[in-house]
């Protein structure tokens, strides 16, 4: 492997860290600070993009950072799945920065420097997860991500933030320390390695019963994937400022969760090993139940961000369920859905934040006629909602298509039923919002102050992500080619 590619891996990790330090130093001068955020985010995307060519050429650049324990190193490796995740996170960070600046200033949030510093650190941790060369490295960055996002979740510092912060830390650290860590150490003891190897490392070394046990520990141990019953941290984390919910709790953190799930299934457990032992059958069921139950809760949630949070829980389980089917088609769908859901859900959160900033509304029932005053925002919201439901011409259609065909191909009628049923439920909780926004007259409420769209930077951000949702439908072949390599 040539030196520059290796260094690019390290640069992915260090760029946001150095950015965070500079941001902190520039705290007294907001404009410089914001400029630095953009510069860092832009530079990061360039570095990640520079890695596309080598990966497409079939290379897997590797870099060992340090031997933490004898034979167990902190190392970075790039493969297609990680590249896709890194691209999503770093690309959307730029858009999200644009949005954050508008949001934080318009809402007069306190401690903005702390906010941007920890945001950059969260991205660094996400890069570490995306590029992790072994399970151990992934675990290290997974824990770091929990810790550096904690000050963002509790940003407001009030009683509600404190309570949510406690749940956030409790569930994410509790599951990872109590379930994931023992599984990691057990895998290390049983196989002598934690490297991510195509085809997995357990085959031939671990009995079917133990495989099942380890899978249970791993899948519930990844609390960030929000598999029920460890999902409730996510709605609680919505207490954070909306840009945090948008990038972290629709993209970076939760995707780190499902990314870990896919990564473990493919590169640690091994698809073939799981198929032979039948150890993943229960996972399909649990994920399916999560999809349906979360959708029902979303249907009844009146708080917009809460509804979006439960929608996220259900969409995350799509990825888990599709991956657990262990077929090639559904695996491709699962990987693609990581990207498709990311652009769609960030748009929805952007829109929710824009509505809050411009109109100070947080409840679905208050949104009657909002399409008249905020047409662009609601148009973007509608496109993203279509993607969530899985209708063309949006990215969500493509990934759902693959997941559905994957389920049909192996005749897994439970999964087919879940996908079809939940599509109806998705429509049930998104379409009324759109309908009321555009086809109802605004309420003549007593507060009735006139408002227009949110500040321009927020509007631009959400339009960009909404367009991405559509663009991804038309250029789906490119992410698909990456997704197909994940076997």
């Amino acid at each position: 492997m040539n030196v520059p590619t290796n260094m690019a891996l390290l640069a992915c990790l260090l760029t946001p860290v150095i950015g965070a330090v500079l941001l902190g130093l520039a705290g007294k001068r907001p404009n410089l600070r914001e400029g630095l955020t953009f510069a860092t985010a832009g530079l990061l995307l360039l570095v990640v993009a520079s890695l596309i060519a080598p990966v497409m050429a079939g290379q897997t650049p590797t870099l060992e950072i340090a031997d933490i324990l004898p034979g167990l190193s902190l190392s970075l490796t790039l493969e297609p799945l990680g590249l896709l995740f890194a691209l999503i996170a770093s690309g959307l960070w730029i858009v999200n920065s644009l949005y954050s600046i508008g949001y934080m200033r318009a809402n007069g949030e306190a401690n903005q420097t702390r906010f941007f510093v920890f945001f950059a650190l969260s991205i660094a941790a996400t890069m570490g997860i995306a590029l992790a060369g072994n399970f151990f490295t992934l675990f290290v960055f997974y824990e770091i991500l929990t810790l550096v996002t904690f000050p963002l979740v509790t940003h407001h510092g009030n009683a509600a933030a404190k309570r949510s912060g406690r749940i956030y830390l409790g569930v994410l650290m509790g599951t990872s320390i109590c379930l994931l860590l023992p599984a990691l150490i057990a895998i290390w003891v049983l196989t002598g390695t934690t490297d991510f190897v195509s085809g997995g490392i357990l085959a031939g070394k671990v009995s079917p019963a133990l495989t099942l046990g380890l899978l249970v520990l791993c899948m519930f141990g990844v609390g960030k994937a929000a598999l029920m019953p460890f999902h409730f941290w996510l709605p609680n984390a919505m207490v954070a400022p909306t840009p945090v919910s948008a990038l972290l709790h629709a993209v970076a953190v939760v995707k780190a969760g499902v990314f870990t799930v896919v990564k473990l299934l493919v590169f640690i457990f091994g698809v073939d090993h799981l198929a032979q032992t039948g150890a993943a059958g229960w996972l399909t069921i649990v994920a399916g139940i999560t999809i349906v139950v979360a959708s029902f809760i979303a249907l009844k949630a009146d708080n917009l961000k809460r509804r979006l949070a439960y929608s996220t829980i259900s969409q995350l389980s799509y990825v888990v369920m599709a991956a657990s089917l262990l077929g090639a088609l559904s695996m491709t769908g699962a990987v693609l859905h990581i990207a498709a859901h990311a652009v769609g859900k960030i748009t929805l959160f952007f829109a929710a934040g824009a509505i809050y900033t411009a109109a100070h509304k947080t409840l679905v029932s208050e949104l009657r006629g909002i399409g008249h005053t905020m047409p662009w925002t609601m148009a973007a919201f509608s496109i993203a909602a279509l993607s969530m439901i899985g209708l063309p011409p949006t990215a969500g259609f493509v990934s759902k298509w693959y997941m559905l065909s994957g389920a049909v191909a192996i005749e897994h009628w439970f999964a087919v039923g879940v996908i079809v049923g939940s599509t109806l439920l998705n429509a049930g909780y998104f379409l009324p919002i759109i309908y009321q926004a555009f086809f109802h007259k605004p309420d003549n409420n007593s507060h009735g102050q006139a408002h227009g769209e949110a500040p321009l930077s927020m509007l631009v951000a959400l339009l960009v992500t909404a367009s991405l949702t559509v663009v991804l439908f038309f250029v789906a072949e490119w992410p698909l080619s990456l997704a197909r390599q994940v076997q």
Binding site: A66, I68, L69, E143, G157, M173, I177, C178, P182
Partner: protein, 493 residues
Amino acid sequence: MSITQHLPVLQVALPLLAAPLALIVRQRRVAFAILLAASLACLAISLALWNHVQDGSVISYAIGSWPPPWGIEYRVDRLNAFVLVLVSGMASLVLLFSWRSIEAEIAEDRHYLFYTMFALCLTGLLGITITGDAFNVFVFLEVSSLSTYVLIAMGQKRRALVAAYQYLIMGTIGATLIVMGIGMLYLMTGTLNLYDMAERLGPLQGQRPVLAALAFITVGVSLKVALFPLHQWLPNAYTYAPSAVSAFLAATATKVAIYVLLRFYFSVFGQTIFLDLPVRPLLIALALAGMFVASFLAIYQLDLKRLFAFSSVAQVGYIVLGIGMGNAAGLTSSVLHLFNHGITKGAIFLLLGLVVFALGGTQLSRLKGLGKTMPITSIGLVICGLSLIGIPGTSGFISKWYLIMAAVELGHWWLVFLIVSSSLLATAYVWKFVDVAYFQSPETPAAAGRALPLTMVLPALLLTASTLYFGIDTRFTIGSATGAVASMIGAQP
């Protein structure tokens, strides 16, 4: 004979000489200088000794050229060399810290007494660690204990006297049991040299007096280790002692006691015998009880010093658990945690010393908004707290990794579950500090406190940084620990 050949005896003799010197000069400055020079020299010596034994060799030093087993032998192998580095390193840092810290906590005309006692305490701890003679262990144990009682009693509050008295009673009972145990071993083997004893015990294994001796020593040393439920003295002692003393004791005293356990179990009795003894399940049970009960009690403390004192009892549980499991990974985790927890707890009590210096106390009610008023100290405490929980990137994670690995290797899944769930309790008591420091506003807005002197900040931050450093670069710690275990059980883990 060149001076380097006498390093083992100098390791103990230097602080022993420093004690009367400090007493005679009476000048606090001179006393401090003597002590600092002595402890830095001790650190250099211990590092030299550590370096010398890393190839697996053993240094044997005959005091007064009386050859063992007739004379007293000082014997350095990879196990005690590692402990010597910890003790002398912590002594140097804590001394530097104490220069300004005791100004605020101890009357000035007693400073030279503080330094005298500190020197004796250091002598005792280093002596216990380096000697290869059973009776010498007891003598040095008494030297360190008696000086510790005095050091604790120097605390600001009158309750320090009660705490010291409590420790004195408990410590004396412990020492009595230890000397009875050693006496029985002497009775059975006719030797006091530990390594000679080990050879002569071979044919005597399983005899009642030998087992009784082991029981006496286990209980006696466990008192000094503060193994649950013999920990009663520890929370008061740590809470009411001067800050520098708390830091030194927390980092070294219990650790040296654990070393004594390891030495008797594995060098004198041997691993094969130890694995068959009924003491193992007992150690595991008490370790677990300590991990849970003490962590649980820690959550309900209203004074941060006391909270972390209970945490020490819990963390000692981890170390004893590793001993109880008795396999290579378990022992490695014990030796690792002995060091890692030593520096982490040392860092915590030094940071708390900064808080005492600035704000006058560590009651949680005084610490509201500490994240704003003392940002660096607060972050330091959070980092050390993460190490107590065992978060990756901190030294605590490394020891916990080996501990869980030991349980997995034995197939004790229930134990794995208990270890990780006790980490959650640690999260709960660390959270208590986070809550107060970051989510509560100071009641009196102008509680900025005094400016902190560099001689206090530097050791505290250095230890905090090493808590992180030894979580990433583990060559020194893991290398030393695996070497130590190899010298204990004669196998490379």
